[in-house]
Symmetry: C2
Subunit: 341 residues, 2 copies
């Protein structure tokens, strides 16, 4: 049941969840990239309706999201949580509107393409009204893996993440800074957005636990990576950890290939890849770091080196802004690809 609606040249765009950290970043990205929207509508819960958000030199008045909100809308960028996406899906697609969903609600559905435009924009042709935006940690990893698999087939990836507060939303970002100030002042701290204190701590749990002892975040990185790369047998071993950083995720990767890959050629291929910037000059102490890269769009790669512990191995380090490429930017890039398609 392919999608038969054709997008107009200047689509009407709704941002659903416009007052959250990702929603606000979606509006910023639409504006910065001069997305050719006929009109942009900001939707949120009843609680936020009436709020004003600066946009393109003007203001958007936030409207309450209801099933009727999508009449006359061509593209709806959702970041309002998985349950809201599930509730609204029918109304959105029935209105002839394409939903680009940043939640985990539909990512693993067979009928829903899971898209990182640099990697698998081709999967957009078979959507039937819903396109899913992958998990933030998955996105920055697959952009890099996709570039490298041009050199040799991938066999296995071991990845440890250093994930920022922004992945848990605006309240979590506020909690990180507020709690850190409280901690330094010797005031008692009570975790709310996180399960434990995040100030000066590392929490090896993101999302809920699965029966096999992995977390759902770790499971997402395995299954989403395989779906996006179209490689069901790829070995992916993941540990996801929250660290006291505001909005950039970092990842340490050990990648095993089926045949030889040289560091020099890997560096060249990455430097030439869309959406990737290589920052890798150890003598100058230059490598990707969250403190350097807030607000940037690319996946930054450094610490590229041979992994001597396996036959054909590379190790590297990736940092990307979780709210940009990890969420809002990738969603808008999907919208752009749909319009261009």
């Amino acid at each position: 049941m392919a999608w038969s609606h054709v997008l107009p040249e200047r689509p009407v765009v709704a941002v659903a969840g416009a007052t959250g950290a990702v929603g606000r970043e979606m509006l910023a990205v639409l504006e910065q990239r001069a997305f050719p929207a006929e009109r942009v509508i900001a939707l949120a819960s009843h609680r936020s309706a009436g709020n004003r958000i600066p946009f393109a030199g003007d203001e958007l008045v936030v409207e309450e999201m209801t099933p009727a909100s999508f009449e006359g809308v061509d593209l709806a960028l959702f970041s309002a949580g998985a349950s809201v996406s599930r509730e609204m899906r029918e109304a959105v697609t029935a209105a002839g509107c394409v939903m680009i969903d940043n939640s985990s609600a539909f990512r693993m559905d067979d009928g829903v393409p899971l898209v990182v435009p640099e990697v698998n924009a081709g999967d957009l042709v078979w959507h039937s009204g819903v396109v899913a935006n992958p998990n933030c940690s998955t996105i920055q990893m697959v952009v890099v893996l996709n570039a490298l698999r041009a050199l040799a087939p991938l066999k296995r990836v071991v990845v440890s993440t250093y994930q920022a507060a922004s992945g848990a939303g605006q309240a979590a970002m506020d909690e990180l800074y507020g709690q850190t100030g409280d901690f330094l002042a010797g005031r008692a701290t009570t975790p709310s957005a996180f399960a434990h204190r995040i100030a000066f701590n590392c929490i090896p749990q993101i999302d809920v636990f699965m029966d096999d002892g992995s977390t759902k975040e770790e499971w997402k990185m395995v299954v989403e990576t395989r779906k996006i790369l179209g490689d069901v047998s790829l070995g992916v071993a993941v540990t996801c950890v929250r660290v006291p950083v505001l909005r950039c995720h970092s990842e340490a990767l050990a990648i095993e290939f089926d045949s030889p890959v040289s560091v020099a050629v890997a560096r060249e291929v990455l430097a030439a890849a869309a959406g990737v910037t290589v920052l890798d000059d150890p003598r100058e102490r230059l490598y990707p770091m969250p403190a350097l890269l807030e607000g940037t769009d690319d996946c930054y790669v450094g610490r590229i080196r041979r992994d001597e512990s396996v036959e054909h191995g590379l190790q590297l380090w990736i940092v990307a802004d979780q709210l940009r490429k990890g969420a809002a930017l990738n969603t808008v890039q999907i919208a752009e690809a749909l319009c261009a398609g």
Copy 2:
């Protein structure tokens, strides 16, 4: 040229570098474990001489360290940097005193045992006046690997570290808190102890870079692990990262074995291992974290799970206090083992 001096029942102990973060912790550990010292002497640089340090209900007056300081001393616990250890080695051993050195100066010397008492206390028999204390990140990993290799031969370990400021000394600990406060207050920050801002950041560089693109800290974890375990062919892939945490190092491990290892049996073996505590109850959100474990002595292990991406794989998460098991405690345990031996 084996060491022929016999330690007296109540040795005279010197702590060299007594005013640093590790030196102070050494004194605390000696006191807490009621180490049977005839006398404890606090040595430091000229600058710190005359300072008073509380010890065992009394005070130690810090003496300036010179080559003559070790006459009449039986055990010298060194944590004053590699160059000081090199300068003093001859004077220490010529005085018939055993040097237990926390620096990297002699760790890879063939004539110097590199010891974690739970793992290779047996190597102490062949020292010739100097015993080396391993790198902090190495210690907590080998305690766990040693327990697990009772189940099946180890093949390869991929480890990513989340290392605390304490590994870079007291000034680095002070910089983390001070700089974080400055950052929150909007004041400019200038890194000094670290190459970059550490507040709300991750720095993928610890120690200097080697020619192969790894850092010296990463190299240490490879070669020290092999030396301590007596396993020169063990594959070890390491990424070392500094995170904004005060004094506990965390590590994410993916371990490959030569034959099957079950999660349940691994958990039992770890729970029974000396120096290891298992904290692993996902339903209760219980796992090791720096915020829980400051000031503790064991290597804490959690997130124990099967790694489905290889034939015989386990993943787990280790946290230990860098100043305790990673440095001061392990040094004092070596001293205890020498006295018992």
